[in-house]
Symmetry: C2
Subunit: 226 residues, 2 copies
C-alpha cells in the first residue's frame, strides 16, 4: 500500500496532506487494492459502485457501447485520477460505461461512507479531505459546464468564438495562448480539423482575430461590418 503514497500525494484529493497522514488515512478510510491485467474489465456497464476509486498505477479506458454495439472511448484515466465518483450517490443507478484496463493497472477503493462521515478525532486531516473532494468535483463540474457551452453552439465558427472568448476572459487579456494544437482543439470542440482551420482563417480575414501557432489575439471587428 505504501508504494502508492507518492501517486496519491500528487492527487488533488490528497493535496496539502503529508505522507504520514496519507498513510494513516488509508487505514482510516478502509482502502483496498485490486489489480487488473491488460484488457481486463475493471467495471462493467450495469454494475453498482459503492467506493470512491483512484487509479494507483497503469491506465484505464472509460468506454461506452451503445444498444447496437458501437464502441466509443470516452476518457483515459491516469494514475492519481479519481473516477466513478458520480455513481456513489444513492439511487444514482448503475454504471453507464465500461471501464477497461488499457494496461496492467491497480485501482484503490475508498469507503465513501467513511470519507463523508467525519471520524471523531482520529484524523485531523479529514476536514481537509472533504474540502479537497468538494473542490475536485466542483472543478470538474466547472470545466464540464464550460465545454458544454462551447459544444452547444451550432456552427464551428460559433464554437471557436465562444471558446476563444472564454479563454480571453479567463486569462484576462485579448491576447492569450491555448493549450492545444489544431488537431487537439478540433477534438476538444468535436469538429473537423481542416474545416476548423479554414474557419479560423476566415475569421482572421474578417479582422475578428489574429493568431500564429497557439497564440491568439481577439480584435474589435472593423466598423460597418455585420
Amino acid at each position: 500500500m505504501e508504494k502508492y503514497v507518492p501517486v496519491l500525494k500528487r492527487a488533488k484529493l490528497f493535496s496539502d496532506i503529508g505522507d504520514d497522514e496519507i498513510l494513516s488515512m488509508l487505514d482510516c478510510l478502509n482502502a483496498t487494492i485490486r489489480q487488473y491485467g491488460k484488457g481486463e474489465y475493471a467495471f462493467r456497464q450495469g454494475e453498482f459502485i459503492h467506493d470512491l476509486l483512484i487509479l494507483g498505477s497503469g491506465r484505464l479506458h472509460i468506454q461506452k457501447e451503445d444498444y447496437w454495439g458501437n464502441l466509443n472511448i470516452l476518457n483515459e484515466i491516469r494514475p492519481g485520477e479519481m473516477f466513478g465518483e458520480a455513481y456513489i450517490v444513492p439511487n444514482s443507478g448503475t454504471l453507464m460505461n465500461d471501464v477497461i484496463a488499457a494496461e496492467e493497472s491497480a485501482v484503490l477503493f475508498f469507503d465513501m461512507e467513511r470519507i463523508l462521515t467525519v471520524c471523531p478525532s482520529a484524523c485531523p486531516f479529514h476536514t481537509r479531505l472533504v474540502k479537497n473532494m468538494f473542490y475536485t468535483i466542483s472543478d470538474k463540474n466547472k470545466s464540464l459546464v464550460q465545454k458544454l457551452s462551447y459544444m452547444s453552439q451550432r456552427s464551428t465558427r460559433e464554437k471557436l468564438l465562444s471558446y476563444l472568448s472564454d479563454e480571453a476572459k479567463r486569462q484576462n487579456s485579448s491576447s492569450f495562448s491555448i493549450p492545444f494544437n489544431r488537431q487537439q482543439l478540433a477534438d476538444f470542440l468535436s469538429v473537423d480539423r481542416s474545416a476548423m482551420s479554414n474557419e479560423l482563417c476566415k475569421l482572421r480575414n474578417e479582422g475578428m482575430l489574429d493568431f500564429h501557432k497557439n497564440e491568439f489575439t481577439l480584435r474589435e471587428p472593423p466598423q460597418g461590418h455585420h
Copy 2:
C-alpha cells in the same frame, strides 16, 4: 429568514433534514439574504464568489456575453436551486457568467467554510449536509458528462442513437419514455427540430426503432443491413 424554510426543505441540499434543524443551521452556517429587483445584476462576470448560493424566491438567468457582445442565456434558476458552487473553489478564478434577476428575487448566501468545516457538536445534521452537498454536485456532474457524450457526436443521427441508447440502459428496457417533446429534445441535443424529426423517421424506416409521442422502442436492425 423563516419564510424560506419551506423552499429549502424541498432543496436537495437539505433533504432529510427537518424544519427545526434547517432553521438552526441557517444560523450555524451564517446565512444571509440579498434581494434583487427585476432586471438587476446579482453577479457579474469577473466577480469572485465566496459563498454557496441558493435561490430563495424569484427567478434568475445565467447569461454569458462574449468578447463581441453576443448574449446567450445558459440557464434559468428556480427557487431551491443551488448555483455558483463551482466558483467557491480557491483559485477557481472569477465568474465567467452574468447572473440577472428575471424577476424580483431573493438569494441566500451560505458560508462555504462553515459547511465544509464540521462544527464540533452543535449541528448533528452537519454530516448529512456535507453528504447532500456531495450528492448534489455529483449528480450534476453525472448528467453533464452524459449530455457531453451525446453532444460530442458529430451527426444528429449519432446524437439521437447515443441518447436513446443511454435511456434504454438507464430505464433497463428497450421500451421507454423520454421527458421531452420533440422541440425540447432538439434543444437538449442542440440540433434543429425538423431535421431531427426527419432523422427519427428515417431510423424508424430502417427498423432501428419505433416511437409514438415520447414512447420509444429500440429494435435490432434487420439482418444484412450495414
